[in-house]
């Protein structure tokens, strides 16, 4: 049963799952780390990203490598309206944001049900072929997803680490008031972080819709996964997201390959609950004082 080919297949699957999970969870943790908002509406933005990709790439035929970032950017910029109308009231209010944004998720999802009926659609694959490396079959589609995700993650890392705005974002995450006192326009920085977070969620949503299926209710699973990844790595910790995403992606791929899908879900949920009980701040997070 444990043939090297099967093993290789599981590794490849693990990498592509990890990439999607990291993208979703990164936006989630960014909103939490900087604005102290628990974004329960994250899955809804992933769903919108899926629909955007469906139109831009599937319907209008824009080349994939342009269509994927373009549709995610479109969702993120449109979401700025919601930032002004909804999110701004919940900044720095962790608890209220949880319930309030659950309400936003409900409102977005059911608006989507009215606009696009609840039936599943499919987003065409980026490339139809497969690549065979030493007996391991890799759909080219997955390679493209991993590639785009890797570029997005690298760009995000470089941006926060080396640009002026990235520095301002990190300062605002540490202490908003002090950051504002140093002359940082925190309203703008919040908007920037918001756009980045939603961009990544929408991008991941597009991949997700491509890998599975597109429907107004598809956001639930990415949201769950973002949750689990973020809890695993530690809320608000960016390296934690990378670690959590890789652990979860590989765990799901391996357990799913060898023991079946439901065992994989049980095991990861169970592990996360145990972790939450004994180390609620996650693997790489810091305990709250």
């Amino acid at each position: 049963m444990l043939s090297p080919i099967l093993l290789g297949q599981a590794v490849v699957n693990g990498i592509s799952l990890s990439a999607i999970y990291i993208l979703v969870a990164l936006g989630f943790t960014l909103l939490f780390g900087i604005m102290r908002v628990v974004n329960f509406a994250h899955g809804a933005f992933a769903m919108l990203g899926g629909y955007a990709l469906y139109y831009v790439y599937g319907r209008w035929g824009v080349p994939y490598l342009i269509a994927a970032p373009l549709s995610a950017l479109g969702v993120a910029l449109a979401a700025l309206v919601l930032e002004r109308l909804v999110y701004r009231w919940f900044y720095q209010k962790m608890f209220q944001s949880m319930i309030g944004l659950l309400g936003l998720e409900m409102a977005i999802v059911f608006t989507a049900v009215i606009i696009w009926d609840p039936h599943e659609r499919s987003v065409p694959a980026a490339l139809a072929g497969i690549v065979e490396v030493g007996g391991i079959i890799v759909p080219t589609d997955k390679l493209v997803i991993v590639g785009v995700a890797a570029v997005a993650l690298a760009a995000f890392y470089l941006f926060t680490k080396f640009s002026k705005y990235g520095l301002a974002m990190r300062a605002a995450a540490q202490d908003v008031e002090i950051a504002a006192a140093q002359g940082i326009d925190t309203t703008r920085i919040y908007q920037l972080a918001f756009v980045i977070a939603i961009f990544m969620a929408a991008l991941a949503g597009g991949f997700y819709a491509q890998t599975y299926a597109l429907s107004p209710l598809m956001g639930e699973r990415p949201l769950m996964m973002a949750f689990i990844v973020v809890i695993l790595g530690g809320m608000g910790s960016i390296p934690g997201v990378a670690l959590g995403g890789i652990i979860l992606g590989f765990a799901e791929s391996f357990l799913g390959t060898f023991y079946g899908g439901s065992v994989a879900v049980f095991a990861s949920f169970g592990a996360v609950i145990l972790l939450l009980i004994f180390r609620p701040w996650g693997l790489l997070g810091t305990p709250e004082t």
Binding site: W89, A107, F110
Partner: protein, 326 residues
């Protein structure tokens, strides 16, 4: 301890003469409804309102300790399955089913309570969210007992007489008065004050000699047991149980009821239940629109009105009084 030795502040939230009189009047009116209206639909809606009110009030009890559970429907489901299996598989009477519906979720809550109730705020919300999902998956996967995703059909009424909607109306009204009354009495008692103290500051409560964790676990188990009874009443009312009836969405609905009504007093979940079940009747045929409206209400309540509809009513009343006084 006599009341005289307590400060007026401590006495304030006590259920005094007037709230009790209002509650009695409301119950009396509700008891008269079936005599006036024989419409089956209205009576069934009434039963649903009472069952939901029990569930929402039991969640309120837990919320009062400062913990919002996003897995409450899972315990409701455990109660429903426990009762249904006791009646259908073991052939025992409905009373035994209700007992099982209380005991099973209560025991589970006692087992996990000491672990999960150490967590605060958002972590508790996340753990209960995942726990609820796990319980739902158990309902789906454990096919030999729960019937899998299809659930269990053909559940008998508690007794032949309860096939009549009016009889079920009285059954659920009675259960509602009993259980909500119990919760109200508990919250108004010494224990209720300890609960409020724990919510306001665990450390201070601990220093004042309140066994914080033991109290929280007891209240959690009690709340889960009571919602189990609500689950049993629901299962035998709609005649089938299935995993989707007790999913995270349902847990969320119970939280919505509490948030909309207001989380500070027991009246909140009751008002919330009415609002939650009556509004959809006015928007029938527009299920999506209902959800959108609820979503927007949630946002508005959380952003501007943390006390919910009860707070809104209170403010309006104050305004009227001030006008009348001046």
């Amino acid at each position: 301890m006599t009341d005289a030795s307590l400060s007026p502040l401590a006495l304030a939230p006590r259920a005094g003469g007037r709230p009790l009189a209002i509650a009695a009047a409301v119950v009396a009116v509700l008891a008269l409804v079936p005599l006036v209206i024989a419409d089956k639909f209205i009576l069934s809606l009434g039963s649903t309102v009472f069952i939901t009110a029990i569930a929402a009030a039991s969640l309120h009890l837990i919320i009062r300790t400062g913990h919002i559970s996003l897995g409450h429907a899972a315990f409701m489901g455990i109660g429903a399955y426990a009762s249904v299996l006791t009646v259908m598989e073991l052939g025992l009477p409905f009373a035994a089913g209700v007992l099982a519906a209380f005991v099973a979720p209560c025991l589970l809550a006692l087992a996990i309570g000491p672990l999960v109730l150490r967590l605060t705020g958002k972590y508790f919300v996340l753990v209960t969210f995942l726990f609820g999902e796990i319980v739902r998956m158990v309902f789906v996967e454990w096919k030999s007992v729960t019937g899998g995703a299809n659930g269990i059909f053909g559940i008998p009424a508690p007794a032949p007489v309860f096939n009549d909607p009016a009889a079920y109306y009285y059954l659920s009204l009675g259960a509602g008065v009993l259980l909500v009354g119990f919760i109200a009495r508990l919250l108004a008692s010494e224990v209720g004050r300890a609960i409020d103290a724990v919510r306001e500051s665990e450390r201070l409560a601990h220093c004042s000699g309140i066994p914080v964790l033991r109290l929280k676990v007891t209240i959690f188990a009690l709340g889960c047991g009571i919602v189990g009874i609500a689950g049993a009443l629901q299962g035998h009312f709609i005649r089938y149980v299935d995993p989707t009836s007790y999913s995270v969405v349902q847990s969320l609905n119970l939280v919505v009821v509490n948030v909309i009504g207001g989380m500070q007093t027991l009246v909140g979940p009751l008002v919330g239940t009415l609002f939650y079940l009556i509004l959809p009747e006015m928007l029938r045929g527009y299920v999506e629109l209902q959800r959108i409206i609820f979503g927007i209400i949630l946002i508005i309540v959380m952003a501007f009105l943390p006390g919910g509809l009860v707070e809104l009513g209170g403010r309006a009343l104050q305004l009227v009084r001030r006008r009348a006084g001046s």
